[in-house]
């Protein structure tokens, strides 16, 4: 990956010095040298600070929304970031010409702590960027591994056990909303949880309110989820948030035909924004 990193650096420098972009978003080295964090480079001479290696666990795409406005912004994008870009465009949060995508085929990232491949990378469906202005490095194979194993496991449980599973999960949730802030589908200006007047979300700290938050957030993003798994990664309590996302993704595919968030397939508007008169009928 070293050479890829070099190319990224020199391309970033070139783009910045040519003034084609006002900033380049990638990764930099954190406090400890095995920790990476999203880095926004604005001066060509800082391009050398960009790194790209197996420890780039964060999904940087959402940084785009903070830095657009003053000129084009370049984003070092793997499969997941590129899908996020498509997602932003579909949600009118971004226009294609506001972003310059430096595509990087991604072999999958490794948890520096355990040295294992991240769960979300092991389940990754799209390793190569689906949209890019230039591609750095050669495309990697797309194994398209089965990603619903966890869903199947939970589904196999009895109703009571499933309820217990989610109670335990939401019982641990501290409602820090990190999952929301990390999610590239969460682009509302004011989240429902903050609308005290309407009172969607209660203030009490208990499993009920946590469940309400968790499930409604899941429903809000389910039909547009790009399966980047950033919510799960961002969760300080390490909750398996992707279970319920994957469950929705799977059901939507099953019920309304194949659909992938992030405009992978040109399947028209998001499944819950459209309908077919011959959708299956189960409410007669």
């Amino acid at each position: 990956m070293a050479d890829v990193q070099d190319i990224i650096r020199e391309r970033a420098a070139a783009l910045l010095s040519s003034g084609e972009v006002s900033a380049v978003i990638g990764w930099g080295v954190g406090r400890f040298d095995d920790v990476r964090f999203p880095l926004v480079v604005k001066r060509a001479e800082d391009a050398g600070k960009l790194v790209f290696d197996a420890s780039c666990v964060q999904m940087t795409a959402k940084r785009l929304l903070e830095h657009t406005g003053d000129g084009k912004v370049a984003l070092v994008a793997r499969g997941c970031e590129s899908r996020a870009v498509n997602r932003f465009i579909a949600d009118h949060q971004l226009t294609r010409d506001q972003v310059y995508v430096i595509g990087v085929p991604c072999p999958g990232m490794v948890d520096p702590a355990t040295g294992e491949t991240l769960k979300r990378c092991a389940e990754c469906q799209v390793r190569n960027p689906v949209v890019h202005d230039e591609l750095v490095g050669d495309p990697v194979p797309e194994p398209k591994p089965y990603r619903f194993a966890e869903v199947d496991r939970v589904e196999a449980m009895s109703r009571e056990e499933r309820r217990a599973f989610f109670d335990e999960m939401y019982g641990k949730c501290i409602r820090c909303y990190a999952c929301r802030n990390a999610c590239p589908c969460c682009t509302c200006r004011e989240c429902f949880v903050e609308q005290d007047k309407v009172g969607w979300q209660g203030k009490a700290f208990n499993v009920n309110e946590a469940r309400y938050y968790g499930m409604i957030r899941a429903f809000h993003t389910g039909d547009r989820c790009i399966e980047c798994g950033e919510c799960e990664r961002a969760c300080p309590m390490g909750l398996p948030l992707m279970v319920i996302m994957h469950q929705q993704v799977r059901d939507i595919d099953k019920l309304f035909g194949p659909y992938e968030g992030g405009g992978l397939t040109d399947s028209g508007p998001d499944p819950l924004r459209t309908y077919k008169t011959d959708d299956i009928e189960e409410f007669m």
Binding site: D91, C188, C191, F192, T274
Partner: protein, 663 residues
């Protein structure tokens, strides 16, 4: 902190019989924000209304909950009371349905009373969140546009214009009149079709309030009920109608004479500068640009030379105008299915003597290519044996359309009658699937045809072949006797299906309304709103809505006209205040609402807003209150609830839910 008044109605014993209304009132007094609760024998009675009004003033209430019959019954009335007799906004009212959905469905007070209390509690909770709503007046442009100048369009135009409103007819062909003037006689009375339709045409032309735009099409429609901005393209006619006197000199001199006449269904020819038929309206010719030598090859110009008034203008161009109309009537009519593409077994159009019903109409018509003598197109001899095939294309899901075209049974019978009438000793066989003659004097007419000797055979023709002696051999089955039948016919008439005119789909998108699966325009309600569409101010007349015969078409045109007149009579219409409303500060402009709105009432617009004391320009959704019907589908699609439905706002429903759940 609102002051809510709760008024519980006895409705005689209707409610009081199974609900302890006093207990309900007592319970209501304990509910949050309730400043007063009382009961009355009949809230809807004049005395009951006064009681409400007095209490409101006495306790200066700012919200009202009425526990009575269904809101579908009296909500309007009570709103009126608030609007007229108090200074409360009529939309600060909630009705708790404790009759239809409580007292009438439960037997005793033990059950009825607590439920009624619950329902009141819900209403009280919602009332607390109600906001003042204001209907605003939408001015009505007192003009009507009619798309399509067939008999439906003509009838509607005359009715509306006679009521004193200006009307514009947009017709895509060179004359209004549509199909009716082509027909010979009309069932069941057999009066001459042209004789009854052409006077109406000239009436249109003469009417001071009717403007006719021929060779014209609607290109764009913007706005909503009362105020449609319509862009119309009037194609070049290459003749200055102000100068043209309609003398017809150009037609007689035009060297390009071999063009098949549309009006005579290709059974005669016309010139390049032409009037489709003598009584055409406007009664002035147009130049057919595809065939005129001057316009195609740049040489000729005979018509310009002979025109006494110099009306010919080869440089003429399309005229595009945009005007405002209050209402639009779709009277786009029908076309006949192209059987030659579909029915190879009938010769696929290779046999000149296998003709469509409309061609037969021209053949028997005195003004037709044969002066009304029934003669075979192939050799001009008189056919002695004629076969009529019904349901060609109709009720044939495999090759044609699944539906019944409704008129064919009757004009089929008419054709049989006319043939036997004009050809003494002529034999006529009618192959049919069913005979459907619902309508005044229809079945009598059919029976008459039978008595005149038409041979009705229940079954389809499976094949038509042409023998060297010119006979058309028709193979078919008589399903009643189970025998194979073979008829040597001289002429075969196919009664073909009515299908939507091409361009219907495009027009539907232009005017923003729906088509049914068959491609005809969909009415708002099949029984109760047959001439309205789901788009306000847009009405249907005639076969644009589905296959019909002339009487039904004219009747429906009249109905559509009545609706239009009813609308145009108003100075202005009250907008429905219960519409979606977008909170710019919450809206991220994701466009989910735009995708979902069935009325295209939501659009994304660039807005400059003040946000934390600085100007920002963002894309946000905007609701067109004229188009929005208040279904609320967008409010759910909107994740942050930036789009909310006035009158049924999120907060109100949430309080209502909690009021019941936590009680």
């Amino acid at each position: 902190m609102s002051r809510i008044g709760v008024f519980v109605c006895h409705c005689g014993t209707n409610i009081a019989g199974t609900v302890d209304v006093e207990a309900v009132a007592d319970a209501a007094r304990q509910m949050p924000n309730v400043a007063y609760a009382g009961t009355n024998k009949y809230m809807c009675s004049a005395q009951g209304q006064d009681y409400i009004v007095d209490i409101i003033k006495e306790h200066n209430l700012d919200r009202v909950v009425i526990a009575s019959c269904s809101p579908r019954m009296h909500e309007r009335l009570f709103r009126k009371v608030l609007a007229e007799k108090t200074d409360l906004n009529p939309y600060l009212l909630e009705v708790a349905n404790i009759r239809e959905q409580c007292s009438w469905v439960h037997k005793d007070k033990q059950i009825g009373t607590p439920k009624a209390i619950n329902l009141v509690a819900m209403a009280v909770a919602k009332a607390d969140c109600d906001t003042q709503l204001f209907t605003h007046e939408i001015p009505v442009t007192k003009r009507a546009l009619i798309i399509g100048g067939g008999i439906a369009g003509i009838q509607a135009a005359l009715d509306i214009a006679d009521a004193g409103f200006p009307v514009t007819i947009v017709e895509r062909k060179t004359t209004i009149g549509g199909k009716m003037p082509m027909l010979d006689k009309t069932f069941p009375t057999l009066d001459c079709s042209a004789c009854i339709s052409t006077p109406k045409m000239s009436e249109c032309e003469a009417h001071p309030l009717i403007e006719i735009k021929t060779l014209s099409e609607v290109e764009k429609v913007e706005g909503y009920i009362g105020n449609f901005d319509v862009t119309i393209r009037e194609k070049a006619k290459y003749i200055d109608y102000d100068k043209c006197t309609g003398c017809g000199m150009c037609e007689t001199k035009c060297p390009q004479k071999k063009i098949p006449s549309e009006f005579n269904q290709g059974m005669s020819t016309r010139t390049a500068v032409y009037k489709p038929f003598p009584q055409a309206v406007p009664s002035k010719p147009t130049i057919d640009a595809d065939h005129c030598r001057m316009l195609t090859e740049g040489k000729c110009g005979v018509c310009a030379k002979v025109c006494p008034t110099g009306a010919i203008d080869y440089q003429d161009v399309d005229r595009v105008t945009t005007e405002r109309y209050g209402a639009i009537v779709l009277a786009t009519g029908y076309e006949l299915i192209d059987w030659t593409r579909l029915y190879g077994e009938y010769g696929g159009g290779r046999y000149a003597d296998v003709i469509s019903g409309l061609q037969f109409e021209r053949l028997v018509n005195a003004s037709g290519p044969t002066e009304g003598h029934i003669l075979r197109p192939s050799d001009g001899t008189e056919p002695k044996t004629m076969v009529i095939v019904k349901c060609v294309g109709s009720r044939d899901p495999h090759k044609g359309v699944p539906y019944c075209s409704r008129a064919c049974c009757m004009y089929g019978a008419k054709h049989a009658h006319q043939f036997m009438d004009k050809v003494p000793g002529g034999k006529c066989f009618v192959f049919y699937m069913d005979v459907r003659t619902p309508g005044k004097n229809y079945d009598e007419f059919y029976m008459n045809t039978l008595h005149e000797g038409a041979r009705y055979i229940r079954g389809r023709i499976s094949k038509i072949t042409r023998r060297s002696d010119g006979k058309l051999v028709c193979l078919g089955e008589d399903t009643l006797s189970g025998n194979v039948v073979e008829v040597d016919a001289d002429m075969v008439v196919l009664e073909t299906a009515m299908v939507p005119p091409e361009g219907a789909k495009k027009l539907a998108q232009t005017v923003n309304t729906q088509l049914g699966p068959e491609g005809f325009f969909t009415e708002a309600h099949p029984k109760l709103r047959p001439v309205e569409t789901n788009t306000g101010g847009l009405y249907l007349a005639g076969t644009a809505q589905g296959p019909k015969d002339i009487p039904d078409t004219v009747a429906q045109a009249g109905a559509a006209a009545a609706k239009v007149i009813g609308l145009l009579c108003k100075q202005s219409i009250e907008s429905n205040p219960m519409v979606a409303h977008v909170d710019d500060s919450k809206c991220s402009g994701c466009g989910a609402c735009v995708d979902i709105c069935p009325y295209s009432a939501v659009t994304l617009v660039e807005k400059t807003l003040r946000e934390n004391s600085r100007k920002v320009t963002r894309t946000v959704a905007q609701v067109n209150e004229g188009l929005c019907q208040g279904c609320g589908a967008c409010t759910v699609a909107c994740r942050p609830g930036a789009s909310d439905l006035l009158g049924f706002n999120d907060e109100g429903i949430m309080r209502e839910v909690e009021a019941y759940a936590t009680r």
